[in-house]
């Protein structure tokens, strides 16, 4: 347990660090939220005084640290502030959109794991045979295709031509199919290669010889012994990839019109809506940290040495 608490304690500075850097970056970028707010409709042009009054009202003139401190104190009580543009509470907005991004990302991770792990295993067991070559070639291709290019091709093929899948929007699982495939293609391929390498390493270990000496069937041994040891390094990779997927979903959300937090954040960034950017960064940061802790937990469960004290790392 001490190991787990220490991991938890390490997560706090990480979260603070993430939010501070995001805040510093957005404040440092050119463009002024007050101007954005007042000239949102593209018709009227705010005067100097109006801008000055609005800046004061939004507290944009106080020093960076004060603004961050102010934001942090409120955030700790769970209030992420309201969006400059839509005036609605940021946490409300993000929570409403979170299911879209989460369901998309989870489905993407699921696809990545389904695509990557079993094929990686087969490639390891049947090393240097036909399936191994095809698998590696496929992995190389999938990793090399730009995400948005694949998205456009999929839409053209499945929605326009075959009219089997909706082009965009959010609702049934059908809507999430293509975006998840696009998100999962890169990660899935990498996972495939990692599974293959991890399993290969385990297959050569001495305890496999012991198991074979017991006269057990090869497939039984691979599943019960080798896979269990191999899945430990895989867990950490899947953990860190989930963070990447959530981050990378911005493009997919724009193309497939999925009302997720990625798109919401992008608009926020373009319009310098600091509370929205902060809120998004906190959410992705939380997801990343929680997911890391989850993988560490599984790491601990899978690896008795960690659970019962003594650091493996």
């Amino acid at each position: 347990m001490a190991y787990f608490i220490r991991r938890l304690a390490a997560a706090v500075p990480v979260l603070i660090g993430i939010t501070f850097i995001a805040f510093a970056l957005s404040v440092a970028s050119p463009g002024d939220p007050a101007v954005e707010l007042l000239s949102m409709n593209g018709f009227s042009q705010p005067t100097e005084e109006q801008i000055a009054v609005k800046r004061e009202e939004m507290g944009l003139n106080d020093p960076l640290l004060a603004q961050y401190g102010h934001w942090l104190s409120k955030a700790l009580q769970g209030d992420l502030g309201t969006s400059y543009m839509t005036k609605e509470s940021v946490s409300g907005e993000l929570l409403r959109r979170l299911p879209a991004t989460l369901s998309l990302s989870l489905l993407a991770v699921l696809f990545a794991v389904l695509l990557g792990v079993p094929s990686g295993m087969l490639m390891a067991i049947r090393r240097n045979r036909l399936f191994d070559h095809i698998g590696r070639a496929l992995a190389l291709i999938l990793v090399s295709i730009p995400g948005f290019w694949l998205a456009i091709m999929l839409i053209a093929l499945w929605s326009e031509k075959l009219q089997l899948l909706p082009t965009s929007g959010y609702g049934t699982w059908k809507h999430l199919l293509m975006p998840a495939v696009v998100l999962a293609s890169g990660t899935g391929a990498i996972l495939m290669r990692l599974t293959r390498a991890a399993l290969l390493e385990e297959l050569n270990k001495d305890y496999m010889l012991t198991a074979r000496a017991k006269g057990l069937r090869e497939s039984f041994i691979v599943l019960r012994h080798a896979l269990r040891n191999a899945c430990i390094p895989l867990l950490t990779v899947i953990g860190s990839y989930f963070g990447a997927i959530v981050g990378g979903s911005v493009i997919v959300e724009v193309i497939f019109a999925v009302p997720g937090i990625g798109r919401f954040a992008m608009d926020g960034i373009f319009r310098r809506d600091y509370p929205v950017i902060q809120g998004y960064v906190v959410f992705t940061g939380l997801i990343y940290v929680l997911f890391n802790l989850a993988t560490d937990l599984c790491y601990g469960l899978a690896h008795p040495q960690i659970r019962l004290g003594g650091k493996l790392r």
Partner: protein
Amino acid sequence: MKMSYRAAAGLLAFVLLASLLAPLLAPYDPNQINMAQRLAPLSSVHWLGTDTLGRDVLSRILYGGRVSIVLALAVTLATMLVGLLLGTISGYAGGWIDEAIQIVVSIFQGLPGLALMLAIAGTLGPGVKSLFVALLFTSWADFSRVVRGEVMKIREESYVEGTRALGAGHVYIIGRHMLPNLLGPLIVLFTIRIGRVILSIASLSFLGLGLQPPAADWGVMVNDARPYFRSYPHLMIAPGLCIAAVSLCINWLGDGLRDKLDTRTEKEHSLL
């Protein structure tokens, strides 16, 4: 695997050469606008036709390659150096230094990739400079984590303790003993990272924050061709394929190198 990674290296060299010799090979000036010739189909005059402003697609692809690959190389090199420095320090020093650096690493890994790039591109304004910083910020963390792992493995070897016993300073030990042994995994990481960076550049251009016109990198070309791709598919397929082909070669090269460098298969020795 040796033979095939040499093929990958060959193909990559060919693409690099083509883009470096672009001025000689390109039939036209890539930015030469010719409204009369808009969206001309593939012809002997324009091997790959012309784009929305009548510019020769083939020349733009040749010039486009140069920007993407050179930038990718520069970014990955910088990422490697930063990752190497911090990874080695945290791996070698251990103790609270290691904990502190690891916290910084998780912070950068925690920041959402694309959002971070957008913010940086916004801050420094568009253009190659901000692309460079944005890509560097989002990728050095992974590098340093891998380097740290390798350094901690090497630190356990007896010859490191032996050299310390000779009274060598830390810098000497890292320089002469750690770095040469890090070379293998680093090269592999380098090639894989380049593939990912090329894709990121293309994605950023897709969002409009990539390279500034008239610079014609492949990501920009794919993005520009999107409205026309149903009736003029080649406008989009050609640059898209180039991106895929280059990153394919690079990943393949990385794959090959990894097999070559890591296959001091201990298996044979243990049995005899």
